[in-house]
């Protein structure tokens, strides 16, 4: 699905990622943990194509050179980033935003665009399954949303777009236990042999609900250790210093 080879990235001459390699196969869930400043969010940004980074190394996504694709092309080809801090866009109705995005993605994949009624039916069904209050649909995009509502909105988009490669950037930060379960349910429902996840997190507790195939520890811009889900528990007890 996604094969990253010796990826380095710097911003304003400061090196953040330093030769990171990672192979994510279809159907796998990888968790990335690591101390503050280890490069977790940079990894998410670089993979999704955010501008402003000097990037070297390579990444193949579905047998294409990932770095040759624009941000929106990556998204249209099924790469989805759940933002750590989802953006507020005033005046733009959430439902309209989701519909426009979904139809753009569908169109680029040769699928028929949905009309307003078809879309509403689908989005309401998804929101219901995820136990997300559909009232957020009629509000302005993320404007005045609580932290939890913003993250739920990301999960709703994730389940609506049905992407192939999903990156969650600290989606669990700042969530209460109920919201955390919604996020985990969203991931577990979408889990399939054709879909992969890269879950970036600070805490082990999300991994109580989502069982990853691999846990990686990111330190100083590269993978310092890889293990199975027990590694997360060890880290929780002993901290990163022992690595």
């Amino acid at each position: 699905m996604l094969k990253i080879n010796k990826l380095s990235a710097s911003i304003e001459n400061k090196k953040i990622l330093n030769g990171l390699s990672l192979d994510i196969k279809a159907g796998e869930i990888h968790a990335i943990m690591g101390p503050n400043g280890s490069g977790k969010s940079t990894l998410a940004n670089v993979l999704s194509g955010k501008k402003g980074y000097e990037v070297s190394g390579n990444a193949r996504y579905l047998d294409e050179d990932l770095f040759k694709l624009d941000i929106e092309e990556r998204a249209q080809k099924g790469l989805f980033l759940a933002f750590q801090y989802p953006l507020e866009i005033s005046g733009v109705n959430t439902s309209n935003f989701l519909k426009t995005s979904l139809n753009t993605i569908r169109k680029s994949n040769g699928k028929k665009e949905l009309d307003a009624l078809e879309f509403l039916k689908i989005v309401k069904k998804k929101a219901g399954e995820l136990k997300i209050d559909e009232k957020i649909l009629s509000r302005q995009l993320n404007v005045g949303f609580s932290g939890g509502e913003k993250k739920k909105n990301e999960i709703l988009q994730m389940s609506l777009f049905e992407p192939k490669m999903i990156i969650l950037d600290e989606t669990d930060s700042g969530l209460d236990i109920d919201a955390l379960k919604i996020v985990a349910d969203g991931v577990n429902t979408l889990r399939s042999k054709n879909r992969s996840f890269l879950i970036i997190t600070h805490y082990q507790r999300l991994l109580d609900y989502i069982k990853p195939d691999f846990v990686h520890v990111l330190m100083e811009g590269k993978i310092a250790k890889t293990g199975c889900s027990e590694l997360a528990l060890e880290l929780e007890k002993a901290g990163y210093k022992t690595i």
Binding site: K51, E72, A75, L87, I89, S90, G91, S101
Partner: protein, 478 residues
Amino acid sequence: MREKELEKLKDYKYGFTTDIESIKAPKGLNKEVIQFISNIKKEPKWMLEWRMKAFNRLKNLKEPDWQKPKYPKINYQDLYYYSAPKNFKDNPKNLDDLDPKLLETYNKLGIPLQEQKRLNNIAVDAVFDSVSVATTFKEKLTEKGIIFCSISEAIQKHPNLVKKYIGSVIPLTDHYFATLNSAVFTDGSFVYVPKNTRCPMELSTYFRINASNTGQFERTLIIADEGSYVSYLEGCTAPMRDENQLHAANVELIALDDAEIKYSTVQNWYPGDKDGKGGIYNFVTKRGACRGKNSKISWTQVETGSAITWKYPSCILQGDNSVGEFYSIAITNNYQKADTGTKMIHLGKNTKSKIISKGISAGKADNTYRGLVDINRNAYNARNYTQCDSLLIGNKCGAHTIPYIKNKNSSANIEHEATTSKINDEQLFYCNQRGLNQEEAVSLIVNGFCKEVLQQLPMEFAVEAQKLVGISLEGSVG
């Protein structure tokens, strides 16, 4: 060369010219030219005298110069003041009399004049350069006693109405451009809606400048008699030319007791090229008088074109309980400049006004909201609500808000809110990550920003306007 032209046309799809023979008045501004215009229109003597009076006053007036966008001095003697398609017959009885090239032009513009094909339930008056070339749907309107025709026709057929109301809202000597218009206006639309009549369809005028070196001076007069309602929409385009062309129209609205006029504008004159060369100077005077009690005038404007837009559609709230509204979207990109807003003059008791202005600035453009809320001594319990929002795209453009408030009555209630925001890279990244490209993202954000105003447009035009908002900002980021 051909390719270059085509390339340019892609940016402004209305930029073509129609190769049509025209009759022009001699170049220059003088008594003979005014006489020429009046003659060719077979105007009664009083109309010519009125024009001459304006012309004489013009000599003592100076062009105003307090506006923010400055422009090179206009040589008024170097302009043509009258241009009409040659094959155009006086008052064409039906569309078959029209030059097929004209019909083709309007089809190209998306304004089919043939009635069977025209937009659903919208009567159209089309003004090509200096003359009105076609008015559709006349019979249906006549049944209800509604007059919708060119102002030239109205001067001949309904002289009493014209005489009574023309210049009654914008006086002959109001200011330089308004007075210039009074002297040389060539055509425009006239609407009269009789007592207790609801106009059953949208009335629409489509203005097109075709000839070069020609100023366009239309005059529109709309009268809503007691208890009547009318919704009117104007659209405008012009070919791409390297020179700047002057468009100085006057629009007067009169609402009598319990009457309501809704006036919408979608202005898409040629804005000039990416380097600021060419484009229309859109210096327009629009004013409505809520003359009767409980009357209402509502202006909605979507201003996306023109090199310079300089206009303040205003309401004079004379009648007690009358209501004035102004909803505006002004978009400036590249080197475009806009200085626009409104004046709400509260004279009657319990008068209310509402101003919603959305200015969007991109490229190296400059956008100014300038507005006046004037509460007179006797305007007890007047209310005004003003909201001015500016949106900046990029860091080379400007947005300015200049609200004036004059209050002479302590019972007034005046509210003013203003915000300035910027589309930032993080927002664009978020939209891109959801599959939208830069232009789609900007269009979505901007349409969200101006939603409150777009909602005021008649349904049939709201969709078009939404697209226009997106198109006019193409290339503004990236």
